[in-house]
């Protein structure tokens, strides 16, 4: 395929990557009552796969230089940008492809997960996918906001899918209120920047602000934009909605959230920072780096500690997601292409592994009607494949080589050392070991029957929400709550043990892990990632590509470091992390460590009580977070 052919063909691929899922969603929404259930499922899966194929083409095609596409034909005139553009780079298109892969896996999983006759999730999932693609490809700040809100609206609706139980409804409220306020914050930031620079285009705003000193308005715009996106990314102190939403959303929806949505928030933060704020005085200085790293470290550590403290499997995975997001923020917050490359590889690898874990928990929930680690003690017999998936997923999240996460981890550690922060590796290791250890502990308890069966504290029973709200059968899977569920529980247990887990639920997680393994074994993946990250981080080249007329050759100024990763030291560190995670799980399950566990529980009780699940508290923290971010931004940029 010559370069010319690629350029010509991608001129239709770029709009198709959003037109296809949007068109599919519109048809689903309008005409789903005329189609049989299987047809709806298959069409939705086909549309999602087609979108994935299109975004993969874009990832390959944009590797050399960014592809700029002007909608409605409005190219810049009189030195001003008039229309909206897509600026497609490999990092953004890669993120969009990940969204496509996970959406396809989630839709396949839904073939059996939503048993009701009128599954209504198809349109919502496809719109979520389209909005994610738009989010990753767009070069316009207001379009970024619109995509942000579209992802949010579909996510709110999907969270509350099991509308017959109070937990998903409460999760949806917490999610919707905090994220809407985040969106409003973003919009105010957009307004401020427009008033100052007269443009809504990322490249043009960045050009106008470049070289200038940041005054109060620019600092406040930075705080509002970054804060709003950090709400979506669930970074401390904007994260309190995350466990409530993830803990009660349906499993396929959690896949989309964990693998794509949180990372989109982080993507926006870095994207806006690179294209708009990095040209300012002090935009790339050590104080800005300190701000981002501080937030990342806090998020990673708090997420890991909270993950260890959970017995509700979905909440545990929610905190694991949060912890890993902190690690990505650390990687990106080093403000070097190497760190960003490490973070992107981690996003891909961890996204696939986290999704596999969620899908595995879903199989357990479907077959055993519970997601409480303690109630499921020993209940894993008969679900061997899922047990292997869970254990493997946890080990891969601990950066077991040769998975793609270990490549990313190596790049991140390398970047931290070059930045003069070698101790960062310990923070990352602690977070990864603690969160993976929690999952391994749960796997050990559920599948191997190790550890105690009673829970350490009062179990409120929220972990027994049934998987799906069935419209056709009025059986025990209804809103009777924990009290009347005992006979129904026994019935479901017996029924579950008789039926085998459906293949469309057991195979997708393995497929996702296989993709990650394949990527990890691809030679040169680190070079590709570093080159993509270097292109992404170059504000001046981006501005020239968007505002100028000629495509820009790859920036020669930023040296791509030689592949230093596949060294014995890197592999040993990764194996050490894996071993440490196994030790954590073993210690947690050992009956003799009960005293240690009680002491840890007492020590972290205040942290657990802070996560009250009350929306008033969460909005208070959001307000405090915005103000704090403004103060930190002023310190960094002023």
């Amino acid at each position: 395929m010559t370069a010319v052919n690629l350029v010509v063909s991608t001129s239709a691929v770029i709009p198709a990557s959003v037109a296809v899922p949007l068109g599919g969603a519109a048809l689903m929404a309008g005409f789903s009552r005329f189609l049989p259930r299987l047809a709806r499922d298959l069409i939705a899966i086909a549309v999602a796969l087609a979108t994935t194929a299109l975004t993969l083409i874009l990832t390959a095609a944009s590797a050399g230089h960014p592809l700029i596409y002007w909608f409605s034909g409005w190219r810049p005139a009189r030195g001003m940008v008039i229309g909206i553009d897509y600026a497609v780079g490999p990092l953004g298109a890669g993120m969009a492809s990940l969204a496509g892969v996970l959406a396809s896996a989630a839709l396949v999983y839904c073939l059996r997960y939503f048993d009701s006759a009128r599954g209504r999730h198809h349109a919502l999932v496809l719109i979520f996918l389209a909005a994610s693609v738009d989010f990753c490809l767009t070069g316009d700040l207001f379009n970024l906001f619109v995509a942000f809100e579209l992802v949010a609206v579909t996510a709110f609706a999907l969270t509350a899918y099991n509308a017959g139980h109070p937990a998903p409804l409460q999760g949806a409220i917490n999610f919707a209120v905090t994220n809407s306020l985040g969106g409003m914050s973003v919009l105010m930031g957009v307004g401020f920047l427009y008033a100052r620079t007269g443009s809504l285009n990322l490249a043009q705003i960045g050009q106008t602000l470049a070289g200038r000193h940041a005054d109060a308005l620019v600092v406040v715009a930075f705080a509002l934009l970054t804060g709003g996106f950090l709400v979506k990314a669930a970074v401390v102190p904007f994260h309190f909605w995350l466990p409530d939403a993830y803990g009660s959303a349906p499993i396929p929806v959690c896949v989309l959230f964990a693998g794509v949505m949180s990372e989109l928030g982080l993507f926006a933060v870095i994207r806006v920072w690179v294209t708009v704020f990095s040209g300012l005085d002090g935009g790339t200085g050590p104080r800005m780096r300190a701000v981002l790293l501080g937030l990342g470290i806090l998020t990673a550590v708090i997420g890991a500690v909270m993950a260890l403290a959970q017995v509700h499997l979905k909440r545990m995975l929610a905190f694991l997601t949060m912890s890993h997001l902190g690690i990505y923020l650390i990687g990106a917050g080093l403000l070097t292409p190497l760190g960003l490359a490490g973070a992107s590889l981690l996003v891909i690898g961890d996204g696939l592994a986290k999704s596999a874990l969620f899908l595995g928990v879903g199989v357990v929930q479907h077959q055993r009607a519970s997601v409480s680690e303690t109630r499921l003690h020993g209940a894993g017999r008969g679900l061997a494949v899922t047990g292997v998936t869970m254990a493997l997923g946890a080990l891969l999240l601990a950066d077991l080589p040769p998975y793609v996460s270990s490549a990313g981890h190596g790049l991140l550690v390398d970047a931290a050392e070059r930045a003069g922060l070698p101790w960062m590796e310990l923070v990352v290791a602690f977070s990864v070991v603690a969160s993976s250890g929690a999952v391994l502990r749960a796997a050990g308890r559920i599948w191997l029957g190790w550890g105690d069966g009673e829970s350490p504290g009062p179990d409120t029973g929220t972990a027994d929400d049934p998987g799906e709200e069935s419209e056709s059968e009025p059986g025990p899977a209804s809103a009777e709550g924990a009290g009347g569920a005992d006979s129904g529980q026994a019935e479901r247990d017996r029924a579950g043990r008789r039926r085998r887990a459906p293949l469309v639920m057991v195979l997708p997680p393995l497929a996702l892990l296989a993709i990650g393994l394949g990527l990890g074994l691809t030679s040169g993946i680190e070079e590709h990632a570093t080159a993509a990250a270097a292109a992404f981080s170059d504000r001046a080249a981006y501005a020239t590509a968007v505002l100028g007329t000629a495509p820009v050759p790859p920036a020669g100024g930023i040296a791509v470091p030689p592949s230093s990763v596949v060294s014995a030291g890197g592999v040993l560190t990764d194996l050490g992390q894996v071993l440490a995670a196994l030790c954590v799980a073993a210690v947690a399950l050992d009956r003799r460590s009960a005293g240690l566990r009680r002491a840890l529980a007492a020590g972290t009780g205040w942290l657990r009580r802070l996560h009250s699940g009350l929306v008033g508290d969460q909005v208070t923290w959001l307000t405090a977070g915005l103000a704090l971010l403004a103060a930190l931004g002023a310190a960094a940029l002023h």
Partner: protein
């Protein structure tokens, strides 16, 4: 004039946040979110305002029409209104179901997601 005009934006946003934080009724809370939303609308429209300007509609104009206000900000505010309406509608639907399932509309009484 600037202080009052822009002060309204900050006031609306903060009073909306206060309403959400101290709310005892979900419907009230949804309306408070809507109030905070209107702060952003007002900000956009005020940024686009021009003293003595007319609407950006170039039909049936007087002889010396003068400048028009910013049409772009009005288009953005339109989008913001649509987004706000969508979120409000969804939250109200959730509130209806919460009332049925949890028996209460007090957000501080919802304890279903505790560990």
């Amino acid at each position: 004039m600037s202080v009052l005009a822009y002060g309204v934006v900050a006031w609306l946003f903060l009073i909306g946040l206060y309403g959400v934080v101290t709310s005892r009724n979900l419907i009230h809370m949804v309306v408070c979110v809507s109030v905070a939303q209107s702060a952003t609308d007002v900000l956009l429209l005020e940024i686009g305002y021009r003293t003595g300007g007319h609407a950006p509609v170039f039909v049936s104009l007087p002889a010396h029409p003068g400048p028009a206000v910013d049409a772009l900000m009005q288009a953005l505010a339109l989008t913001d209104v649509v987004v706000g309406a969508a979120v409000t509608a969804l939250l109200l639907a959730v509130a209806v179901q919460v009332h049925k399932r949890a028996g209460t509309l007090d957000p501080d009484e919802l304890r279903a997601t505790r560990e």
